[in-house]
């Protein structure tokens, strides 16, 4: 398949307000979203249900019009261009295959709409069928295919027109868990190979981490954070992000000194230097994010003592729920050696690895 042209997508302060009938209670589904997506980049919009992911995607695709703000594709303002003139193709959650057409005609649809010569249509469809592992299924009807195959047809139908931007709205959420993981890596491989700018919507953080070059975490119509999967996991900018991406414990930490991206804090009785998402004046009480694997339980009476409330032995890891004063924490021991597993009801000393701690500007609750 030929290299598709560029595909730089820019959102400038884009907002979308749905006015409810009756005038009252307008919904601000997308709130001043600004974002630049580079050619060939795979960006995921991630967030809880109702946070405005789908609406953002529909604004990009042209099925909704922004209430304010601009959308640019390779420098051209396309905010008011109709969706069929945007050179983008969308893969839907429901697949949205044309039920009255064969697989072949489904895939050929976009090419025929563009009046591609008959011979080319035949060739390109065959090639995509092969690429997607659908060879020999051209004459089937969509309802004669399994869910995974239907999803492949939907993807093939979008790929064959070689759009500048591919859009996905939770395309895997109708598949069972195993197939989902498999399709996930197929999508990833294809996208890397074809180098098509892609915007992917999901509420599944694992899916987002597995697929994306960058993740855009959304909440209440706004962008909370943009970053690579690692950045988002290691240096979340807010409790919301830390909580949404993976699991997190929040502990209060007193700032001693603060530099850019770094702070020295007192945490669980120790003074350590940790990464920080903002400059904080000395004396401030911030929130330290500790991933479960950053916490350690040790048989050491000099450490802060916690009570083990629950022990779950999962084979390669052991998960504990422990109580520290009023707070419950999750601790994951990724290297449980025999004899080092704490039983429920036992007391243990709580320790941590400072390198993996991240400080937020929000006060702890």
């Amino acid at each position: 398949m030929a290299e598709t042209q560029a595909g730089t997508l820019v959102l400038e302060e884009v907002s979308k307000v749905f006015s409810q009938r009756g005038g009252q209670g307008d919904v601000r589904a997308v709130d001043r979203v600004s974002l630049t997506i580079e050619p060939g980049e795979f960006v995921t919009l991630l967030g809880p249900s109702g946070c405005g992911k789908t609406t953002t995607l529909r604004l990009i695709s042209g099925f909704e019009m922004p209430t304010s703000g601009r959308i640019l594709l390779d420098g051209k303002d396309i905010s008011h261009r109709p969706p069929n003139k945007r050179d983008m193709a969308m893969v839907f959650q429901s697949y949205a295959l044309f039920p009255h057409m064969t697989v072949f005609n489904n895939i050929a649809y976009g090419l025929r709409v563009q009046h591609t010569p008959r011979h080319d249509v035949q060739q390109r469809v065959e090639r995509v069928l092969e690429l997607m592992g659908l060879s020999g299924m051209g004459n089937r009807r969509p309802h004669e295919l399994s869910g995974g195959q239907q999803q492949r047809v939907a993807l093939a139908r979008s790929l064959v027109v070689e759009p500048r931007v591919l859009l996905f709205d939770e395309p895997l959420s109708n598949l069972d868990a195993k197939l989902r993981v498999q399709m996930r890596s197929e999508i990833r491989n294809l996208q890397r190979r074809l180098h098509i700018t892609s915007v992917y919507v999901t509420h599944d953080q694992v899916e987002a981490m597995a697929l994306s070059d960058r993740i855009v975490v959304m909440n209440n119509g706004q962008i909370e954070q943009i970053g690579t999967p690692e950045e988002i996991y290691r240096w979340p900018v807010s409790r919301f992000v830390a909580d949404f991406i993976g699991r997190a414990n929040f502990l209060s930490a007193t700032v001693q000194t603060s530099r850019e991206k770094e702070a020295t804090v007192t945490l669980l009785g120790r003074t350590v230097t940790v990464s920080a998402s903002a400059l904080l004046p000395p004396g401030t009480i911030g929130t330290a994010v500790l991933r479960p694997e950053a916490l350690l339980l040790e048989d050491d009476p000099t450490l802060e003592q916690v009570v083990v409330e629950q022990t779950m032995y999962l084979g390669s890891t052991v998960e504990y729920i422990v109580r520290l004063g009023e707070q419950r924490l999750i601790v994951v021991d990724a290297d449980p050696r025999p004899g080092r597993v704490f039983r429920e009801g036992a007391t243990a000393g709580l320790s941590f690895e400072p390198e993996t701690v991240h400080l937020l500007a929000e006060p702890a609750i």
Binding site: D26, M65, H80, F92, A96, L97, P99, R140, E144
Partner: protein, 579 residues
């Protein structure tokens, strides 16, 4: 926020104009509805509010004659609505929930009155139950006077109960059987389930059918003309005002009186009943429906249903027998004279004209219906609800009212004066003497206007079954709105399109009240000819007309089904080789 909304509307509008085909379609549809539906109704209301109209209003309000006419109309409407809904309910309930034999046959026969031409049932009833009735006199020796409320109630109920039957059958089928099961599991008897679960759930459907039948009954013109006798109703008085007295103002005033309850019912239907009935239906019935098979329930109900079926069979038997005999019950010699009269003689012109005009109106109505359904259900624009409402008015107002409106609006050419060019005729004279096409254009328009609403509803219902993402996928792949409509939407709503076409043709062939004022000597319409024959006592000819009309409609249904196709291509079929 207000300016924001306005800008938004402008943007919305700009977006529609960006797609020229869609925009042109929208403009055509809106203009069509304004010219053919809104303006006639408006003209009629306007006429009734002229000084003369207002005087008439006052006169009628205080005149005992008119008060009586009004009371008669309401009385007849309520009776027909009550009995018709009850009949429809019994048939529907038995059909879905009771173990009786011959269900398919019962269903088929119950639907027969829907495709019957006007006057057929009334005339047959006259021959069966009148002074010399084959049943009342020949069998029971009674010289029964069928003219008046009793006869009217009988024929109107028989003509319109199928509407209630279909309505309620759909709702009873959609009732979640799990509810029955739950109630039965809780120890309730079947009677209790019926009383406390089934009936309350169906209240919206029952109310809806009642209102529908009420409106149909008070708007009906054909039956009161034949069987009314001294029992005058609004529809017949309107007819006399135009045909006998040439007094359009009086007709307009009376029409407004008829229009008010019709519109009220339409609005209640639309904004109350359709809304509540959605709530009560789960859409995905689960569990096995409980069938009632207690003999003490089954057989009395079966007998009642069979009585209705038998009545319908006898009435249609009379229609066919009457068409093939010299004078039924007087001279029962078999003859084809009546058919000769219709096919080769005086009636052939009407037969050809009516079929031709209906055939012209049918595809237009079908396509318009689907197009409006698409614009209303799939495109976001301010005014789509108004378009839906205005289109539905075409059938919500009684036919006589539409006919008078057409007389008022199209009896002269519609002209506008433009600078430079001068006076331009936008719409030529469509009705009365020297109208274009001998008045045929107006009749075709009325056929379309009366048929589009059913096609629209069928289209909207079909569209609501189709995931909008399928159409969005097409657009996302580069197709414009028109291409999407043609390649994706239309094929997927093909069955709705077909039923829209069938309805349009059948409706056009059998309509009377809306076109009775619009026929001209140059354009003869079968239903109007039937009325002439009935009024002159030539029942044989009338019945022959009816039989031919039914045959034409059935043939057209067959042709349409073959031409359009009954499937979408999306149906699940087992193909050899497929796993």
């Amino acid at each position: 926020m207000r300016t924001l909304t306005r800008n938004h509307r402008i943007a919305e509008f700009r977006r529609i104009t960006q797609d020229p085909v869609l925009f042109v379609g929208l403009v055509i549809v809106v203009l069509f509805v304004i010219i053919t539906v809104i303006s006639p109704i408006y003209a009629m209301v306007e006429e009734s509010l002229t000084e003369k109209g207002r005087e008439l209003f006052e006169r009628y309000l205080t005149s005992p004659v008119y008060q009586r006419i009004f009371r008669n109309t309401m009385e007849m409407g309520l009776l027909v609505a009550a009995i018709g809904t009850a009949l429809g309910f019994v048939l529907a309930y038995v059909q879905v929930k009771v173990a009786v034999p011959f269900k398919r046959l019962i269903h088929f026969i119950a639907l027969v009155p829907i495709v019957s031409p006007p006057f057929a049932v009334a005339t047959a009833a006259l021959l069966l139950f009148g002074r010399n009735g084959m049943i009342t006199y020949d069998i029971f020796g009674v010289r029964y006077d069928i003219y008046g409320l009793d006869g009217l109630t009988l024929v109107l109920t028989l003509s319109y109960f199928p509407v209630a039957y279909l309505n309620l059958r759909g709702m009873i089928q959609a009732l979640d059987p799990a509810l029955d099961e739950a109630a039965t599991n809780l120890g309730a008897s079947k009677w209790r389930v019926f009383r406390t679960v089934t009936v309350p759930m169906l209240i919206p459907g029952i109310a809806g059918s009642f209102l529908l039948l009420f409106v149909e009954a008070i708007a009906d013109l054909g039956n009161p003309l034949v069987l009314g006798g001294n029992y005058e109703v609004l529809a017949t008085r309107i007819y006399v005002s135009i045909v006998g007295l040439y007094d359009t103002t009086a007709a307009a005033v009376l029409s407004v009186v008829l229009l008010v309850p019709s519109l009220l019912v339409f609005i209640v239907q639309r904004y109350w009943i359709s809304r509540t009935s959605v709530v009560s239906i789960t859409g995905k019935p689960s569990g096995t429906p409980q069938v009632i098979n207690h003999p003490l329930v089954v057989w009395p109900l079966f007998a009642a249903v069979m009585a209705i079926v038998l009545l319908i069979v006898i009435i249609y038997g009379v229609i066919f027998a009457g068409a093939f005999t010299k004078i039924l019950n007087v001279n029962n010699e078999l003859t084809l004279d009546h058919f000769d009269f219709v096919i080769n003689g005086y009636g052939s012109e009407a037969m050809k004209d009516t079929t031709q005009l209906s055939a012209i109106a049918t595809p237009i109505a079908g396509v318009l219906g689907m197009l409006i359904a698409f614009l209303v259900a799939r495109k976001k624009w301010t005014g789509r609800h108004a378009l839906d409402f205005a289109t539905m008015l075409g059938i919500a107002v009684p036919g006589t009212i539409l006919g008078i409106g057409y007389l008022l609006v199209f009896n002269g050419p519609q002209q506008i004066t433009l600078p430079v060019i001068g006076t331009v005729t936008v719409i030529p004279k469509l009705t009365g003497g020297r109208a274009v096409f001998g008045g045929a254009a107006a009749i075709v328009l009325v056929y379309i206007v009366r048929s589009v609403p059913a096609a629209l509803r069928a289209g909207v219902a079909a569209l609501s079954q189709i995931d909008p993402a399928i159409e969005e996928a097409s657009v996302s792949l580069g197709a414009d709105n028109f291409g999407t409509f043609r390649r994706i939407t239309l094929p997927l709503i093909r069955p709705a399109f077909l039923s829209g076409l069938i309805y349009a043709f059948a409706r056009s062939m059998t309509t009377i009240s809306a076109i009775i004022f619009l026929t001209t000597p140059r354009t003869k319409i079968m239903t109007h000819q039937i009325l002439n024959e009935v009024e002159n006592g030539r029942y044989g000819n009338a019945f022959a007309y009816c039989v031919i009309l039914i045959v034409i409609v059935l043939a057209a249904i067959g042709i349409l089904a073959v031409a359009v196709g009954t499937t979408t291509g999306a149906e699940k079929t087992t193909i050899e080789g497929a796993a």
